[in-house]
């Protein structure tokens, strides 16, 4: 090795090699490199001793802590549930009326309900629960099912509507046109009539509306009632109010009557715990009233 060459700036010797003008200095490796290497290695060594690390052919070293991420998280989730028990056990025990009368509990319901609703229900019912085309506005308090009591809501959420649950609520708006039960002109008439109930139909076509009324009486009252105010035991909506599940324009209503409708609300018992469902029930029940 020729070690006679020196760099003019640093005065350090070069390795004596040169590649197209590039040289290298014989600078020793700075101490700190070894220091950090040692530190990183010690850190690693400690981790190797504490946690599962080295594979043997059929098994692996388990580490002195003897833990595994699966156990750790199972315990964490369990502990978290225990520490929430201060208020969740109240929710489980108390009646709906008692919960709603308790401001501290209601605060927890609101906080928890916001996220539970946001992650599970908002996709259909919207973040403000005001619904959208095909998905009911839960903040309108115009219920399809039951009397709007927490018990009725709880059942809907638990079993769903037209869902895969064995006890599901079932409902169906028949396809009067598609299935040949009514001719098109009669459907048009009943559509006009239904829309007139909430003053959506321009006045003057009284004859048509009158014809529609006849059709309605013959075909629809079984589900929607004489007064068209709906029947909450079959999930048939009130047709006289301002809430429309599938849109109120003539075309949408025509489609509803012609092709029928069958909304699908999932079966939450399969996904959420009874506690979560109870929290959501209270959350939905106490939503501020909002139009669509």
């Amino acid at each position: 090795m020729e070690l006679d060459k020196r760099d003019v700036v640093t005065g350090r010797p070069t390795t004596g090699h040169e590649w197209n003008g590039i040289e290298e200095l014989e600078t020793p490796i700075p101490r700190v490199v070894f220091f950090f290497l040692g530190t990183a290695f010690v850190f690693s060594l400690i981790c190797w001793m504490l946690y599962p690390t080295w594979p043997l052919i059929w098994t692996y070293t388990k580490g002195m802590l003897g833990t595994d991420q699966k156990q750790v998280v199972a315990v964490q989730v369990e502990d978290a549930a225990l520490s929430r028990a201060t208020w969740t056990s109240e929710i489980e025990k108390k009646s709906y009326a008692e919960i709603e009368a308790d401001p501290a509990l209601m605060r927890s319901v609101k906080e928890t309900g916001h996220t539970l609703f946001g992650d599970n229900c908002a996709a259909c019912h919207g973040v403000n629960a005001t619904g959208g085309a095909g998905f009911p506005n839960l903040a309108a308090k115009a219920w399809l099912w039951g009397d709007g009591s927490p018990e009725a809501l709880e059942e809907t959420i638990r079993v769903g509507i037209n869902s895969t649950n064995d006890d599901t609520r079932t409902s169906q708006m028949l396809a009067f046109g598609h299935d040949g039960m009514l001719p098109t002109d009669q459907i048009e008439a009943v559509v006009a009539y239904v829309r007139s109930l909430s003053s959506l139909e321009p006045a003057g076509d009284a004859k048509r509306i009158e014809a529609g009324k006849q059709v309605f009486a013959a075909n629809c009252v079984a589900c929607h009632g004489e007064d068209a105010k709906g029947k909450r035991d079959v999930g048939a909506p009130d047709l006289t109010d301002a809430n429309w599940l599938y849109g109120s324009d003539a075309q949408s209503v025509f489609t509803t009557v012609y092709s029928g409708r069958q909304g699908h609300m999932p079966n939450w018992a399969a996904r959420l715990s009874p506690l979560d469902i109870k929290i959501l029930t209270v959350y939905v029940h106490t939503l501020e009233k909002k139009p669509q």
Partner: protein, 552 residues
């Protein structure tokens, strides 16, 4: 350029193109009911087009023996232009997908090929393989010859590698638009493209070996250690990770050999080391030549080079499992991934430090010369992103950062700050050398590019750090009741301003790349026009024993 090939090289080129054309035709015919057919047409068109080009120069007089006394730089020249071309395409695609995340309705056509999921890999492959790969191939040929003081072994195989590699990139990118992907990140191209890349890569490796075998320097220079590690390890990774069974020879689709947890580990062993040996090792090779060359300084420490090289080569290969923390991958692999990632910081910083210390005695040049400043900043970002990476590899940190934009911020600190900057710096150094000019067409524009790139990187990275950390925290924030405080959609809404900021940062970076491309093309055309008057020979002659003139 054809006129510089010998007749037998021209014949070889035509033969290979004929073979490729037949393959393309066969793919088009067999895959007529499948997207494979479309890919076949692309291969066919590509080979026919090139065959016409070769034919156009086929009858030109052959070059004489004097060519052997000079380096063979034509593939490097073309490779640089291709790299800049892919840079603009890939980064424009990056800006576009960034904009789609801010304004999803921006898509002008409601068509499959234009949707986010198909365009995103066009961006990632476009910048990593199109831009990065071409830059690596082009510079490696240049560096290899200079540091070996030997000419490339023949004139055909470098072209085969460069053109074949670009065919791979075109097939890959067009495939994504057609919906062809294996879904393995950074290895998305399907089986036939994967096989083609293996062939190209073997030839690439052989060029390296054959040139080294003919080298006049007893020692192999550090830059070549890195380029070799890049070539070799990428080959190993690519072959193992892409093992798959095609549905049939008339289907583009294949099913990977591994499944589930083994597939996940193989994919991230590959994915992480694509970062290590493509985006790091290769570009370190680049840095180890162009930085000292441009600075006119010797490498700070040869011994530091040794330990950082072997440290990187050994330790990186253990770190891939840090992409799978807390997943269904057994925890023992995660512990290994975490600890080796932490140890990896030391050789990474050693190489960044070696680069920066090499600038001792040349800091005044860094101040005045934007080209060198590109390389200096690149080394800084290299240090920064490896520090960040090692930090993110620690399990509890990763529990926050994984799945979020923090990862995207880290990626682009490395990709923009390190990979792109070192490449731009090297290209600005290399272009005037290759085209025999004093300097770039406009040093002012180099300066402009530098500031656009730096500003773009900072805006991009900071906005992603912010959004990533906010996102990660929102996902795990608990309210006083001990339940999750935010829904997913809450976190989505919080991202919007950062997605706009990122788009803006990317736009700055892209503008820089466009300016750079213009500058490079301008320098080349100037050189073309002046070469008629310049009396210098095109290539410096190499007397058998002495080195090429310094500054080359």
């Amino acid at each position: 350029m054809i006129s510089r090939l010998t007749l037998s090289e021209r014949q070889l080129a035509l033969g290979v193109l004929l073979f490729l054309g037949i393959i393309g035709l066969a793919m088009a015919a067999a895959g007529r009911n499948d997207p494979l057919g479309g890919q076949g047409f692309i291969v066919l068109l590509f080979s026919v087009g090139l065959a016409f080009y070769v034919m156009s120069g086929y009858f030109a007089p052959e070059p004489d023996e004097s060519r052997l006394a000079s380096y063979y730089d034509d593939p490097t020249k073309v490779g640089i232009v291709l790299a800049m071309f892919w840079a603009v395409i890939g980064m424009a695609m990056g800006v576009w997908v960034a904009a789609l995340l801010a304004w999803p309705e921006l898509t002008f056509v409601d068509q499959a090929w234009a949707s986010f999921g198909r365009l995103r890999p066009v961006h990632t492959s476009g910048v990593i393989f199109g831009f990065g790969g071409n830059a690596l191939i082009a510079t490696s040929f240049h560096v290899l010859q200079r540091t070996s003081r030997a000419r490339l072994p023949d004139q055909f195989s470098p072209w085969f590698v460069l053109i074949g590699y670009n065919l791979f990139c075109i097939v890959a990118a067009s495939g994504y638009l057609m919906g062809i992907t294996q879904s393995k990140e950074y290895a998305e191209p399907e089986w036939y493209a994967d096989i083609w890349l293996v062939i190209v890569w073997v030839v690439y490796f052989l060029i390296y070996l054959r040139t080294l075998a003919r080298r006049k320097e007893p020692h192999i220079y550090v830059a070549n250690w890195y380029y070799m590690a890049f070539i070799l390890v990428v080959a190993v990774l690519h072959i193992v990770n892409n093992l798959a069974v095609p549905v049939s020879f008339s289907h583009a689709k294949s099913y990977s050999l591994f499944s589930g947890v083994q597939d996940a580990m193989t994919e991230w062993w590959y994915g992480h080391n694509a970062v290590a040996f493509f985006l790091t090792s290769g570009f370190l090779g680049m840095m180890y030549y162009y930085l000292p060359k441009r600075a006119g300084r010797p490498i700070f420490s040869y011994r530091l080079s040794i330990i950082s090289f072997w440290g990187i080569t050994f330790l990186y290969m253990w770190a891939g499992s840090h992409h799978l923390h807390y997943t269904a991958l057994p925890q023992w692999v995660q512990t290994l991934g975490m600890t080796f990632s932490v140890m990896l910081l030391v050789p990474s910083w050693a190489s960044a430090g070696n680069a920066l210390a090499t600038l001792n005695g040349a800091w005044h040049k860094v101040r005045d010369d934007a080209t060198l400043r590109f390389m200096m900043v690149a080394a800084v970002f290299y240090g920064l992103s490896t520090f960040e990476g090692s930090f993110m590899a620690i399990r509890p940190v990763n529990s926050l950062s994984h799945y979020t934009d923090w990862t995207i911020g880290h990626v682009h600190a490395g990709a923009l700050g390190w990979v792109a900057m070192i490449t731009f710096g090297s290209i600005y150094a290399l272009v005037p050398w290759l085209w025999k000019r004093e300097a770039m067409y406009s040093p002012r524009l180099v300066e402009v590019h530098f500031w656009l790139a730096l500003a773009g990187t900072i805006v991009y990275v900071f906005s992603m750090w912010n959004s990533g950390i906010i996102q990660g925290l929102m996902w795990r924030t608990y309210n006083d009741s001990g339940t999750l405080a935010y829904s997913f959609v809450d976190s989505l809404e919080a991202m919007h301003p950062y997605y706009i900021a990122r788009t803006f940062g990317g736009l700055l970076f892209l503008a820089g790349a466009v300016v750079g491309t213009f500058n490079v093309l301008k320098t080349i055309t100037l050189a073309r026009h002046e070469s008629a008057t310049a009396a210098e020979p095109d290539m410096p002659a190499i007397p058998a024993t002495s080195a090429v003139q310094a500054g080359e």
